[in-house]
């Protein structure tokens, strides 16, 4: 597994929201949950191409803003019957930077 990509400081993502990043040719939505932990999923909704990073989240799910398909933040699996999103390993380093590994889990 690669060492991961540093996406920069975590505070570029507000609590409870997501932001999109282009990483290694892939488009990744990184979410910062209200408890401070991070999740990362592929950024494009498999249903109609909606921008997942603009979705509303809680501790478990993200809702695509276009048609409210729901996906698990942990696994990328949809609870509304859509195809799954890819889930990525994402962590914070000691300098409060976001570290993302693109090799799909």
């Amino acid at each position: 597994m690669n060492a991961g990509f540093n996406l920069g400081p975590v505070d570029q993502i507000p609590f409870g929201e997501g932001r999109a990043f282009g990483v290694d040719g892939e488009q990744v939505a990184v979410f910062r949950l209200r408890d401070g932990s991070l999740r990362a999923l592929s950024a494009v909704c498999p249903h109609k191409g909606g921008p997942i990073a603009d979705g509303t989240i809680d501790q478990d799910l993200v809702l695509c803003p276009l048609h409210q398909n729901a996906f698990s933040l942990d696994t990328g699996c949809s609870t509304t019957g859509a195809e799954p999103l890819t889930s990525y390993d994402v962590q914070m380093d000691n300098h409060q930077n976001i570290i993302l590994r693109t090799a799909a889990r």
Partner: protein, 868 residues
């Protein structure tokens, strides 16, 4: 069997013309499964007496449960044919269907299923001790299990002259029971031997279902028909006198003469029919008499064989003949818990239970009787009937609608808020819904009239049972009936669960009622009560009033604090965030702690997300009035930003579509106009007409008032969007009657205020809230109504649902008459919201969150980051 039965049977001279395919001279031997002589068939022997709809259906059900492995099957049928659909005989009589069309099982079916069929052979006796049946052609057949399905025969009421001196039925007299009866009637009706100088005439004895069908069928052969009915009104088994009277009008309008409350005492004519004699009315000349005065179960073989027979063969809940271990009975020849049925639906239900027992597929199966709901077309008139004909107890509710000139009659009986009976005549559009309500005891709408008619409101209570599987239930998300049904079969037993699983009803929401009905239908009434249905948002188990009270009591000021304090396990819920954010902003105004993650993306960036992830920008254009400067600026902005689509909206504004998120601040800055709020669950716009300045019809300054209303209420949050309009005269060019709040100027300087109108996903004319003299009063009442709506409507409940739910009378009492003393509070709360207004587009200069306007678009090149 008895002589009576013989007399109703076809005479042999007609048999030559029958379709050879369906007829056979002797038993059909089983073609497969014959064993070499000497080998023993270990299977039990099943013998079925009766090859009508019940007998054949029972065998079909048995075969479907692997009966062929358990049994060798032998069937005896009185009629020399395969099995046909008796219900369709009226169509054969009228010529709509040929007799070949109504066969259910051709002779091939018997061969293919290895059934030995003795067609045209009658069983005369059963020896239930040695277990043999004795047929009238000398066959003696042993059985291990016996099913009696002998059905019914026409009842011949006593009258003189029915028979010729030789004992046969007088030529020209018919019953209407079998395919041969039908063929004989058709032949007689078409017979060239009748004098052609006068119209032929028939009398039908019996004004029930079958009699009316016969009358209509004969009419189609150009015959004048009289119906003589001993009951006080037509179809008295299915409906009360009021319905019967209207049915009579409809039947008479077809040219059929009706004589109710009268009895035929004699058939006139020596060697053939020349007329009938009535008890108390003049004789009627005719060439033909059809007796359709009811049916009687065929129980002769059962009686002769010593089985327990009362009105019919008595069976238990397993369809087993009482006191017999190996003899079952099914269909019209059966008496179960005192009931004898003459319709097809109970027969299907009986056949299933019987098959489950005979094959052992489900030995717990029990037949508990049938609730009879019929939907028929009788003589061209739609008739549906179920349960009680009329009220029986003092506390029964009886709702009746009667419109004789159109032949429409509807009667519904309600007991303890459950439907216990209904009769519908001439208009059966609500039948599927009513049948469901009757079968499953569904809760009924408070407005009882909604049981009879589709009122203008959300949801169509159409017959979900009748929808095709591929019918699209949710037109936004393309969810078919089948998808919903599959979700239910897959284990979703709540409406919300099925909606979540399929996303049905998650678009515009206009199909929610239909979705609910489909789910309830699919679950066959086994829908778990959905506790979440009353919650304001799904993640906090409180209705709106309790939720608001809890928020106030605990002094909660943010969405996250609500989850922490009130949600189970203090768990956040994404689906609840937007609704909570809206509610708390409404309640707390500038005391609300605005957490941006609780907002939907539209409300985070103050624009409406489009299918490609870009946004639409609609600047405020109060009352739809603009200026040269505005237009020029909009044109410049559109040009500068290469706006892909410039569109006039339905709310009289200009929409710039296809703006990338990251460009929003610059577009707003260049426009330098306030937000038009074309994206939120909020006050949107006030549409106005030209008004009295220019329009020669205008009676009030609608444009000015529209601008004033928009200035006052711009951007206030609500449970759902609010679209308003002001029209300057009753021509209503601004379409005020179909707005959430619509104002119409009327002559005399007065203004009418309508609320709860809609012309989108639903069409509803608003209800008149008040008529006032002063534009200021319009503003006050508009604000007070909207505040009442904001405080009391469910999340995403538009005013077109809210107003009828609460009732316009109640709303008027609160808003106009201040009957509950709420007016001051409502006005103050609205004023607080108005005072806390801030144009959200000013966030362009100082984004509230990091990357607020950063792209999330998969379409464009995203910010690339260095590889570590």
């Amino acid at each position: 069997m008895t002589a009576v039965t013989d007399k109703t049977q076809p005479t042999s001279q007609h048999k030559g013309q029958h379709n050879a395919q369906h007829r056979l001279p002797g038993p059909v031997p089983a073609s497969k499964g014959k064993r070499p002589p000497g080998t023993r068939d270990a299977r039990r022997r099943l013998v079925v007496i009766g090859n009508g709809m019940a007998g054949a259906r029972a065998v079909e059900e048995i075969l479907a449960r692997g009966g062929a492995e358990q049994f060798t099957i032998t069937m005896f049928g009185d009629e020399p044919y395969g099995n046909y659909n008796r219900i369709m005989l009226s169509h054969v009589l009228s010529g709509e269907e040929s007799d070949a069309d109504i066969f259910l099982n051709s002779l091939h079916w018997y061969q293919d299923n290895n059934i030995t069929l003795h067609a045209g052979v009658r069983v005369e006796r059963i020896d239930r001790f040695t277990k043999y049946v004795f047929a009238n052609n000398g066959h003696v057949v042993p059985y291990d299990v016996l099913i009696i399905a002998t059905g019914s025969q026409s009842f011949m009421p006593p009258m003189d002259g029915l028979y010729t001196p030789s004992g046969s039925i007088k030529p020209g007299v018919f019953t209407f029971r079998t395919i041969d009866d039908t063929r004989n009637m058709v032949k007689h009706a078409q017979d060239e031997g009748h004098p052609s100088d006068r119209r032929r005439r028939a009398v039908v004895i019996g004004g029930g279902l079958l009699g009316l069908e016969a009358a209509r069928g004969l009419q189609s052969h150009g015959i004048d028909v009289d119906v003589v009915h001993s009951g006080g009104h037509l179809m008295n088994a299915q409906m009360g006198p009021d319905g019967g009277a209207i049915l009579r009008r409809s039947v008479e309008a077809l040219g059929i003469r009706v004589h109710t409350g009268s009895r035929t005492t004699a058939v006139l004519g020596t060697d053939k029919v020349t007329g009938v004699r009535l008890r108390d009315r003049p004789d009627i000349d005719c060439d033909m008499v059809v007796v359709a005065a009811g049916i009687r179960p065929n129980v002769d073989v059962a009686v002769l064989s010593g089985l327990h027979v009362e009105r019919a063969i008595v069976v238990d809940d397993q369809l087993r003949v009482v006191d017999e271990d190996d003899i079952y009975a099914v269909g019209e020849c059966v008496q179960h818990r005192g009931e004898v049925y003459g319709l097809v639906a109970p027969l299907w239900e009986q056949a299933v239970v019987l098959a489950n027992h005979v094959t052992g597929a489900d030995s717990a199966a029990a037949y508990l009787g049938s609730r009879i709901a019929t939907k028929l077309k009788v003589a061209g008139v739609e008739v549906a009937s179920m349960g009680l004909q009329g009220p029986e107890r003092e506390t029964d509710e009886h709702i009746v609608f009667s419109e004789p000139s159109r032949g429409v009659f509807k009667s519904i009986v309600i007991r303890d808020n459950k439907m216990v009976g209904a009769t519908l005549l001439g208009d059966s559009r609500k039948v599927a819904y009513l049948t469901q309500a009757f079968d499953k005891g569904l809760p009924l709408p408070e407005e009882r009239i909604a049981l009879m008619f589709d009122l203008g409101g959300p949801g169509e209570e159409q017959g979900v049972a009748e929808l095709n599987d591929d019918a699209q239930v949710c037109n936004c998300n393309g969810v078919s009936k089948k998808s919903l049904v599959d979700a239910v079969k897959g284990g979703c037993n709540t409406v919300a669960g099925a909606m979540d699983a399929t996303r049905a009803g998650k678009g515009c929401g206009s199909c929610k009622l239909l979705v609910k009905q489909v789910v309830e239908w699919a679950a066959d009434g086994d829908v778990a009560e959905d506790p979440a249905a009353s919650y304001y948002v799904p993640g906090v188990p409180l209705d709106k009033a309790s939720l608001m009270a809890a928020i106030r009591k605990q002094g909660l000021r943010s969405v996250s604090s609500v989850f922490a304090a009130l949600a189970p396990g203090s768990a956040e819920d994404a689906k609840s965030k937007m609704g909570l954010a809206s509610l708390m902003k409404m309640m707390l105004a500038d005391q609300y702690i605005d957490e941006r993650d609780a907002r939907f993306i539209n409300d985070r960036v103050h624009a409406n997300i489009q299918r490609d992830g870009t946004f639409s920008v609609v600047p405020q254009m109060k009352g739809g009035v603009t200026s040269v400067q505005q237009l020029r600026r909009i044109a410049d902005v559109a040009e500068k930003h290469n706006i892909p689509l410039i569109k006039l909206t339905g709310g009289q504004r200009i929409d710039l579509l296809g703006v990338p998120k990251e460009d929003l601040p610059q577009v707003w800055a260049d426009l330098d106009m306030p937000s038009g709020y074309a994206y939120g669950k909020s006050f949107r716009t006030v549409k106005t007409c030209v008004g009295k300045d220019f329009c020669r019809y205008g009676t009030g300054d609608s444009t000015r008032l529209g601008i004033d209303i928009e200035s006052r209420f711009q951007g206030i949050e609500a449970p759902a969007k609010l679209k308003l309009a002001v029209s300057g005269c009753p021509r209503n060019c601004a379409e005020s009657l179909v707005k959430d709040v619509g104002v119409v100027a009327v002559e005399g300087g007065r203004w009418e205020i309508y609320v709860g109108g809609a012309a989108g996903a639903h069409i509803r004319k608003g209800d008149l809230l008040a008529t006032v003299d002063d534009p200021e009063e319009v503003k006050v009442l508009t604000g007070r109504f909207m505040q009442y709506y904001r405080e009391n409507a469910n999340w995403l409940e538009r005013t077109y649902s809210f107003v009828p739910r609460v009732g316009i009378d109640h709303i008027r009492a609160v808003v106009v008459d201040d009957a509950e003393g709420l007016a001051d509070g409502l006005d103050a709360a609205m004023q607080a919201s108005v005072d806390s207004y801030m144009d959200p587009w000013t966030e362009r200069d100082d984004p509230l969150t990091p990357g607020q306007f950063r792209t999330s678009l998969p379409l464009t090149v995203l910010p690339q980051v260095p590889v570590r």
